[in-house]
Amino acid sequence: MEENIRPPLAVRARPWLIALPALLVLIGILYPFLTAIYYSLTAYAFNRPGSVDTFVGLRNYTRMFTHEDFLYSTYITFAYALLSTGIQLSIGLIVAMLLNRDSRLAKIFTPTLIFPMMIAPVIGTLIWKMMMQPSVGILNPMLNAVGLPSLQWAAVPETALFSVVLVDVWMFTPFAALILLAGLRSFPSAPFEAARVDGASFWFTFRNLTLPMLTPFIIIVVVFRLMDSLKMFDIIFAMTEGGPGNTLMTYQLTAYRTGIQFQRLAQGLPYAILLYIIIYITSMYLIKAWGRAQRRAAGY
């Protein structure tokens, strides 16, 4: 009836007015983002205050891309993220399916599932570091008890990545399991009963019913875990600060070491900005895929 009449300005502006406090915070957060981009184009080092005015164009970026450690840093960033996300997703899926049964053990354990994830990542890592420690640790005695040799865990390059991924898997598999369990519980029972009546095998039901319907939930897990592990700082820092040597120097750790510890802000920032671009594009893509998967799953 009055669709052609534009509502008065006061009404149109209302959502913006309601959101105004949040928008102010938003500006306060965006400002350092923009400053970060500006700094990355200068020669800024904290111990040379005047250097903030020296504009160097993209030199910090070309320096990063041509740095001898850049390829390795890229490799370790992605290796850490893909390994932890992949393992969490697999174990999380198995645990979710096992918890989604009528079992007394499942009922007892479900409330404790979240515990490792609620402890601060730094503190959780320190506990593991303590367990891996050669004199007071418990993991090596346990390995020895079943006839396996002691490991040097994060202290040597060979097992350092394994050690931090282990902690990440311990901490965040509950996230994958909880989200996937919520997915499994949201399924209608009719198609599964029909499959059972028809005598479909476990694998057939899993591949043709469970997995397609679970896809939106799997994507949610991947969005959160992949993005978080690409920028993981706490676990790696608490375990080895990026060492031994440069074994665990991911983009985040390199940005920290260069920008904060060595105070060369302008040289550290490109690593963080590059990581942000990678994360932004990947998460946009995954969130779109999530929308598609949701519509497709709803079609069943």
């Binding site: 730094v122 311990w170 990581l275």
Partner: protein
């Protein structure tokens, strides 16, 4: 028939076996932290599971170490770190609630240009590598006098708490039928009274759960207070590193501090279990 029953039985046993194995892996480190926190200095190196428990570590971190030798840091500052964590985490949640609840409502109820972009921008802060903002903030904070202050940390914690609150609350507001508001509007209530008297009570359980979860994430944060805070605002997460990076490693003290620093979150997690999944997934999974 007989063999089918046995194979089902076998599957159930194997399933429970794997589940038990997973939960040993998940819960053992927590149990071990508790055990170590109850060990004296010598027992730390000579015993594993069987020992005489002692509370001296808790005593030492809470009230100071009476036997601390000269030159050894007597770390009794734990209550101060705990208070710091409490102040910055609750401060961050309160600020996020004040600005986030109205924003979540606007994003859920109104159609306006750029709405999805705005919502996604808030979300993208959750995924941004912290160092993008920390590096410039380490300069800006020193210029503004915010370095090593509660307000400085509360401000930067908005990156942690605000996206979570806005997205989770938005999903709760969207669940409420607009008919309720329409009916109240016809009765002549202004929109802000409808919001305050009708909508807010409806989302209150979700609101409380989201706020508690935001509190946990703020409490657990490490990198922001590590770089942007000094000794004034040192939180439990930053101080935990101090126990074992000093010349002598105090594993048992660190374990005691870890237990005390983890108890609040475990209790909170148990109390908001029903709302946990929606909170953890930012409203994407209704749980």
């Amino acid at each position: 028939m007989q063999s089918k029953v046995t194979s089902n039985r076998l599957a159930a046993i194997l399933s429970d076996g794997f589940l038990a194995l997973y939960f040993i892996f998940a819960l053992f480190p927590i149990l071990w932290m508790l055990l170590v926190s109850l060990k004296s200095g010598e027992q730390l190196f000579t015993t594993q599971f069987i020992f005489t428990p002692t509370l001296e570590n808790y005593q030492a971190i809470l009230f100071g170490d009476p036997r601390a030798a000269a030159g050894v840091v007597a770390r009794q500052e734990f209550p101060k770190y705990f208070m710091n964590s409490l102040i910055v985490s609750s401060g961050a949640v309160i600020v996020s609630l004040l600005v986030g609840v109205p924003a979540a409502y606007a994003l859920a109820r109104y159609k306006f240009k750029g709405k999805e972009d705005l919502a996604f921008t808030f979300l993208s802060f959750r995924f941004a590598p912290e160092l993008v903002v920390i590096i410039p903030l380490s300069v800006i904070y020193r210029q503004l006098g915010l370095y090593d202050t509660y307000w400085g940390i509360i401000w930067v914690y908005q990156l942690v708490t605000l996206p979570l609150l806005i997205w989770v609350l938005r999903s709760y507001f969207e669940d409420i039928s607009p008919d309720i508001e329409q009916a109240a509007m016809i009765d002549g209530y202004p929109w802000w009274r409808i919001f305050w008297l009708i909508l807010l009570p409806l989302v209150r359980p979700g609101l409380a759960a989201a706020a508690l979860l935001a509190f946990v994430f703020a409490w657990n944060n490490f990198i922001f207070p590590l770089v942007l805070g000094g000794s004034n605002v040192q939180t439990v997460t930053v101080s935990a590193l101090g126990y074992i990076s000093s010349a002598q490693a105090f594993f048992n003290r660190m374990a005691a501090a870890s237990v005390l620093a983890s108890i609040p979150q475990i209790i909170l997690a148990l109390s908001i279990q029903r709302y946990l999944i929606r909170g953890l997934s930012f409203g994407a999974v209704k749980g």
